[in-house]
Amino acid sequence: MSDWIAIGALAAVGVLIPIGMMSVSALLRPSVPETGKSTTYESGETPTGGTRIRFNIQYYMVALLFVVFDIETVLLFPWAVIYRPAISAGVPMIDLLWPMLVFVGILAIGLVWAWRSGAISWARSPRATSRKTERDLN
């Protein structure tokens, strides 16, 4: 039988349990609508401004960097899987290692470049670092 049937079954169960809890709660809970309740919570103060705030550009940087390395892992996994069997089958180690080293090396250059050009420093300039506030840290 297929492993995937079992996985699908657990997925179904995993989704059904939360939905079941929500349903039960929907039956049990009261509903007393009131405008004060439904305002956005901002530590008890009256909400100011919109919620679509401009946030630190570094979030994007990190996301872009992640894409690069995530792809790398996708392509490295097959290599990792065959590595030991191939060694056992008598393939010289250097033949197996160099493609990975080249691959990782290229990415390493990319990482170092990103590092040096400040893509992964959360606060970008020395001045910004010196007056790190809560807002900057976001």
Partner: protein
């Protein structure tokens, strides 16, 4: 001498370009704050010139040509280095060198030029790899390797609304067409069970009931090629992208990137979907390409004729030239005697085009650097203050128009003659008529530069700098365009031999 090297040395141009791109990142890493524009440009130019020299050397020494044992296949046949691959590597690397040198001045006050150089080099690497692809998988990967940096390059001036808009539109059409291209590949794979060109060709020869799938896949692949070469029906990004992009990028895209698209077409439609087998399977892509070529050149030329802005005119003219080169594929016939001639002529045209079109866009870059306007009127009288650059521009324009004293004439001539030899008189006629039309708008530029008077006496005051790099690149391109006339013999003979080897 080459034969004593390991086979992988045939990929030397690709490696050189890739290493240069990485080296540029390293240079920038060593001194990210000083942003040494000059050192980056020097490294980039040296690297791409080295790659160009390596390509030429490998071609001259006969690497991959039938005389020395045929094409060199590497990496489980995914890569195949033959004369055509090296020929195109030479085009890509030369254009890259010109663009990099020119960019030095164009980005003289840009905050972070580093990425520009390395992205250009990486795109060039992708192109060189593309030229050597022997598998649909490599084609797609390399194509994306060209496209992805190109998107960024077009939108490189991120505070310039035109550049961003151009980048967006280029990206949208690019992403869509690469998805279509990919789906086409997947259908071909589904029908033939192979991604290697040879395997696909075998599969095409023995389709049973899957001809429809394969045909649809090929149509989609044609679409992808049309995008990359800025041909109808995926041409409409080109005017936008070329106009909005920084001019060196326009030069790069319209010369090198287009050539990259064509090398794919040349390979795919000779090795993977050979004419004979495709026709036997009921897939008549020859006719499709014929129609595309005719429509593309007509549309490009007539649209160029009504433009008011020089850069946009060049963009449309670049579409027109794509139409000419498409003849190289459209005029193939099963067992045609002139198959090699016509495709070789198309290759030679791309080489010549690489210099003359790059040069023309770099002249526009120079005008942008000076800050004169973008329309024909704004260019009026520039020759009074910048005679050398204007002369170079005149050379490019006349060569693009195919006027006989310049290299552009020969390449077009051999293209049309090859088409006639293969029985495609109508394509050659279309091409000839379009060439005549093109003379009109190309000569408008020359007229503006040399003959028209400047709009006002102060309008030439903007020309207050002599950007050395741009000048060097433009003059070099002009000299190359002129010298390719006497030197056309080896070029066309190499190209023809390279193309003939595919049939």
């Amino acid at each position: 001498m080459v034969n004593t090297l390991p086979q992988v040395a045939a990929l030397l141009p690709v490696f050189l370009l890739a290493f240069t791109g990485l080296a540029l990142l390293l240079v920038d890493t060593i001194s990210p704050d000083t942003r040494s524009n000059t050192s980056m440009a020097v490294v980039g130019a040296v690297g791409s010139l080295a790659a160009s020299a390596a390509s030429v050397w490998l071609v001259v020494s006969g690497t991959g040509s039938p005389d020395t044992g045929g094409a060199i296949t590497l990496f489980a046949e995914a890569i195949k280095v033959d004369t055509m691959a090296l020929f195109f590597s030479a085009i890509f690397a030369s254009v890259t060198a010109l663009v990099v040198v020119a960019a030095h001045d164009y980005f003289h006050d840009h905050a972070s030029p580093a990425a520009f150089y390395s992205l250009t080099l990486f795109a060039a690497t992708g192109m060189a790899l593309l030229a050597a692809a022997n598998s649909l998988a490599v084609v797609f990967v390399a194509l994306e390797m060209v496209s992805l940096p190109s998107y960024v390059l077009v939108a490189y001036l991120k505070r310039n609304r035109g550049s961003v808009e151009a980048g967006l539109k280029y990206f949208l059409v690019g992403a869509l067409s690469s998805a279509i291209f990919l789906f086409g590949i997947s259908l071909v794979y589904a029908a033939t069970g192979s991604l290697l060109f040879g395997g696909v060709a075998e599969g095409i020869g023995s389709l049973d009931g899957l001809a429809g799938i394969a045909g649809l896949g090929i149509v989609m692949i044609v679409g992808g090629v049309a995008y990359k070469t800025a041909s109808v029906p995926f041409h409409f990004w080109a005017p936008e992208a070329y106009e909005g992009a920084p001019a060196p990028v326009s030069a790069f895209l319209s010369s090198a990137s287009k050539a990259a698209g064509f090398v794919v077409a040349f390979r795919l439609f000779t090795e993977a979907f050979p004419v004979g087998a495709s026709l036997a399977a009921g897939i008549d892509w020859v006719l499709a390409f014929g129609v595309l070529a005719a429509v593309t050149m007509t549309l490009g030329n007539f649209a160029a004729a009504v433009q008011e802005e020089v850069k946009r005119m060049l963009a449309y003219s670049s579409i027109g030239h794509a139409g000419y080169v498409l003849i190289g594929v459209a005029a193939l016939s099963a067992g045609g005697s002139a198959n090699g001639s016509v495709m070789g002529a198309a290759m030679a045209h791309l080489l010549v085009y690489g210099f003359m079109n790059t040069g023309a866009f770099l002249f526009v870059a120079m005008a942008e650097r000076w800050g004169v306007g973008r329309t024909f009127e704004d260019y009026a009288g520039l020759a009074k203050r910048a005679p050398v650059a204007s002369t170079a521009m005149a050379v490019f324009m006349f060569s693009l128009a195919g006027l006989p004293p310049f290299a552009g004439f020969f390449s077009k001539y051999f293209l049309f003659m090859g088409a006639i030899d293969n029985g495609f008189l109508w394509l050659a006629a279309f091409g000839a008529v379009n060439s005549v039309v093109s003379l009109y708008y190309y000569s408008r530029v020359v007229k503006a530069l040399f003959i028209d008077d400047p709009a006002s006496s102060s309008s030439l005051d903007a020309i207050d700098v002599r950007p050395t790099g741009l000048y060097a690149a433009v003059v070099f391109a002009a000299v190359a365009t002129v010298l390719l006339l006497p030197g056309f013999g080896p070029v066309i003979e190499t190209a023809e031999a390279a193309a003939s080897a595919l049939f």
